[in-house]
Structures are given as structure tokens and as C-alpha cells.
Amino acid sequence: MPRRGHLGEFEHLVILALLRLGHRAYGVTVRREIARRVGREVSIGAIYATLERLESKGYVKSALGEATPERGGRSKRFFRITAKGMSALEETHRALARMTRGLALIRSFS
């Protein structure tokens, strides 16, 4: 269980995807970004479940965008990271850096 202020593994991936995508971050693009960069095929439901959890923690904010015909007239829901989310991301990275400092990770796993 991640400690308060730290991100879980999938939360971490989703937040990094939001950071990379900027203002283009919504369900489809986040899913594709993770699939493209990590090679992990996840469902839209898993993305939304994580984004809503992050939103309830105050790490992410969402807003409805435009509706398009290829979406059957349904709106996109865009997500962006909040300042609190950025702090949590930085804290997670600091914790990872402390844990990995001095370890020759690439060599030990090869």
C-alpha cells in the first residue's frame, strides 16, 4: 500500500503520461501513451479508475472538452496535474532515487 503522498506503480505511470501529454491528456491518449512507452495494454476502465482515484486525492483535475462525431457526440474528459499532484510525483521520485542510489541496477538485472 503506497504511503500517503506517494504514488502507486500504476498511478505513477498515469501521472507521467499526463505530464507528457499536457493539454491533450484524456482516456484514449493516456492509454496509448502507456501502451507505446511501457508496452502495457490496459483498459480504459483501469485508466479511469486510477484517474478518478487521483482526482479524489486532489492530484489531478478534470474538465469536459468538445464532443466529436467519432465519439458518438460524447465529450472528452481532459485531465491535468495539480500542484499537489506534482508534489506527490516529486516525492515519489525522491523516494525512488534514495532507494536506487548506489545500486548498479542494469548490471544486477542483466
Partner: protein, 220 residues
Amino acid sequence: MAPAPPVRPPRLASWLVGLFAAGERAASIEGDLLEEFSELVSRSGVGPARRWYWRQSVKTAAALAGCGFRAAPWSTLAVALAGYLLFAAAASLPERVTVAVLQAGWHDVTPYYTWRQAQNYLFWLNNGVWIGRLLLPLLVGCAVAAVAKGRELATTLALCAVNGVATGLEILLLSAGHAPEYPFFLPLLLVQFANSVLMVTGGVITREIRSIRPRRVARG
């Protein structure tokens, strides 16, 4: 030449996702699925796109069910437990109601039954009890889903899990008290499986009734 009509995703799969999400959330998820489905249709064809849509819908429904449970685990579990206790307390209700109804309808002036009357009595006694036994888990599922507004399916699935655990305990107790070749485990498992299916059906009915009004509002 008129353009080909747009290919629609499998309706049953869309309905499945709609059971676990409501309002704006459902619209965003369905829109995302439809957007990727349309792209897949033009890139890979209808068959692979439909298969992808089905896979995504099942995974999405499972993720949203888990999300619904994690959003309020204790209240979901409490409602599911209360539902199970209600179900257990009302277990003999179908027999009692059927007998009471038959007694009320068959109070003959003569103390004797004709052969035909006896046949009718037994027919309704037997079938009335079965109908009652089918209705009871359905109604408990409806009641549990009605209490758990917004998490209808997650809560009825939790109710099924509680029912499954209780069945497991019952089997353990029975096998401790009887010989290992005790022959009633399979019927017991089948009955409890049917009960679970009916409880979830009750949850689906409540969820569908609740979603009718927002759909009408959305259509204007």
C-alpha cells in the same frame, strides 16, 4: 453512391459498461471506447474491432466494479451483509406465503378434497414455493442495489461474494457433521449459484430503472 452507414460497436458490450458507470463518467468512457473502435474499424476491419471492443468492455466493467467497491469498501460490505441477513431471515417466506395464500383460497365448506382439488392444491403448492424461491433473491438484489445508489452492481456483486462465503462455510459445517460422501453438496452449490445470478439480476434491474430517467433527460 450513398456512404456506408457507420459501424456500431456491440450493443451488449456497451450496455455492460453502462451498468458500471453513470452520467458524465459513462459518457466519457463510452466516447473513448467508441473513438478507438472507429479507428480500429478503418485500420483493421470490423471483426478485430468488435473483438477489441468486447475485451475492453469486459476489462473496463471489471475495473469499474473494483473501483466502485474501493470507493466505499465498508459501506458496500455493510449493505451486502445486511442484504445477506435479510435473505437468510426470509428464507422460509416463500413456503409460508404460498401455504397461507393456498389456505385462504382453498378453505372448503366440506372437510374433503376431490382428487382434482388435491391435484390443483399440490400443483400450486409446489410451483408457488418455486416461484417464491426465485423471487426472493431477485427482490433482495433489488433492495440492496436500491440502498447502494451509484454502486448498484458493485454492491450486488459483494452480496454474491458474501453468499458464496456463507455457502462455503455451510458446506464445511455439513461435511464436518456428515460422512464425506454426503450427497447434497452439488444441489446446494447449484441453488446458491442460481441465487447469486438472481441477486445480480435484481441489481441490474434496479440500475436500469435508475438510468431510464437520466437517459430521457439527455434525449430532451
